[in-house]
Symmetry: C2
Subunit: 212 residues, 2 copies
């Protein structure tokens, strides 16, 4: 049975899961969710995920939401990308949580406001406020990567790398420039050099360029 | 050995962990972190947690950060509050992740801006923007609780309840009124009726009332 990932190209949280399955050779297929036409607010989608969010993974009898849960499931199913020791596995989940709390959610909001929201619905002051918060998150990640090639500290990539990197490959501007963060820049290249890696707009249907 | 929780009373993320250990009868003691005088930005604290955040739990040789990780550790150490079935355990982590991504971080920021930040450092549109996002999170949680007494869906409380509720007991205003969310209101009373429950300002040193 091939797992189905409810996703759309612009969703960095969906991308983390799509990329994890791709790198771990777990068969999957995308089911396009038309987020920009309001599909996640429909009753039908809410039946699938009452949290109203993408991604959702349906694999046989399992229906999972929250990218961190789905990443955990992929690690369990494939035995890959979860860290090789118990200590590394713990670092994996520490950084997945950190990303959820500090990085991805704020990048996603900032990028949405700068690229996809109606201009009159973006209150002044919000974007600079979010960008200042993001700068402190980039600093923590950049400093962390100065001492180790992969986020969880082992000798190979884990889902913690995919969680933290998921939003950082998108081309739309949100105030992030890779050249300002050399350790993050090299690490993004390191991930992109993994066998099977693909850009979010190549891995999932839907592309912000189509919306323009 | 008694676990040490680096914390301060105003931190809802620290409160989740303090309350979990208290309810699960795991011995612990608080170590006060003087957040409002900049202690989390000191080199000494950054050695303990390079993420620069409270809480940190030190238990013997283990040093853990990120409240979600610490809650997982407490469940592992005590065998309590983690859900009774595999399906319930999965719901626990789904909601802990949801809380991290959608609820606690935004409540924490909103409450900080409205109560603790210098007024001239709060950009005008930010608080209403955060409050609108929170209203959609409260709606999801309130609807979810209409059908079940505890967040993870089992017949008793789990760390998912403590994660989602952690910030909601604080007295300082951030635009949340329990009477607007009757299911959340009753659930907060249900948690507060558990044997051993205590308010954050009773469980940890440091109290916003001292700052006034």
């Amino acid at each position: 049975m091939t797992a189905k990932l409810y996703c759309f190209g612009e969703s960095g949280n969906a991308y983390k899961c799509a990329l994890a399955m791709t790198l771990a050779d777990m068969p999957w297929q995308p089911v396009f969710v038309d987020f920009f036409r309001g599909e996640t607010r429909t009753l039908e989608f809410r039946k699938l995920n009452p949290m109203g969010e993408v991604p959702v993974l349906v694999d046989g009898a399992e229906t999972l939401s929250q990218s961190g849960m789905i990443l955990d499931y992929i690690v369990g199913q494939t035995g890959q990308l979860g860290g090789r020791t118990k200590a590394e596995a713990r670092q994996v989940w520490r950084w997945v949580l950190w990303d959820n709390q500090r990085l991805s959610g704020t990048v996603g909001t900032c990028r949405y406001l700068m690229n996809f929201a109606a201009k009159d619905r973006v209150p002044e002051g919000v974007v600079p406020f979010l960008q200042a918060r993001l700068n402190s998150a980039y600093t923590i990640l950049n400093d962390h990567l100065a001492a180790r090639p992969w986020v969880a500290g082992g000798d190979g990539p884990t889902v913690a790398d995919l969680a933290c990197a998921g939003y950082l490959y998108y081309p739309e501007p949100w105030g992030f420039s890779r050249s300002d963060w050399p350790q993050i820049d090299r690490w993004l290249d390191r991930i992109a050099a993994l066998r099977g890696w693909r850009h979010p707009y190549e891995l999932m249907p839907g592309n912000a360029l189509d919306l323009a």
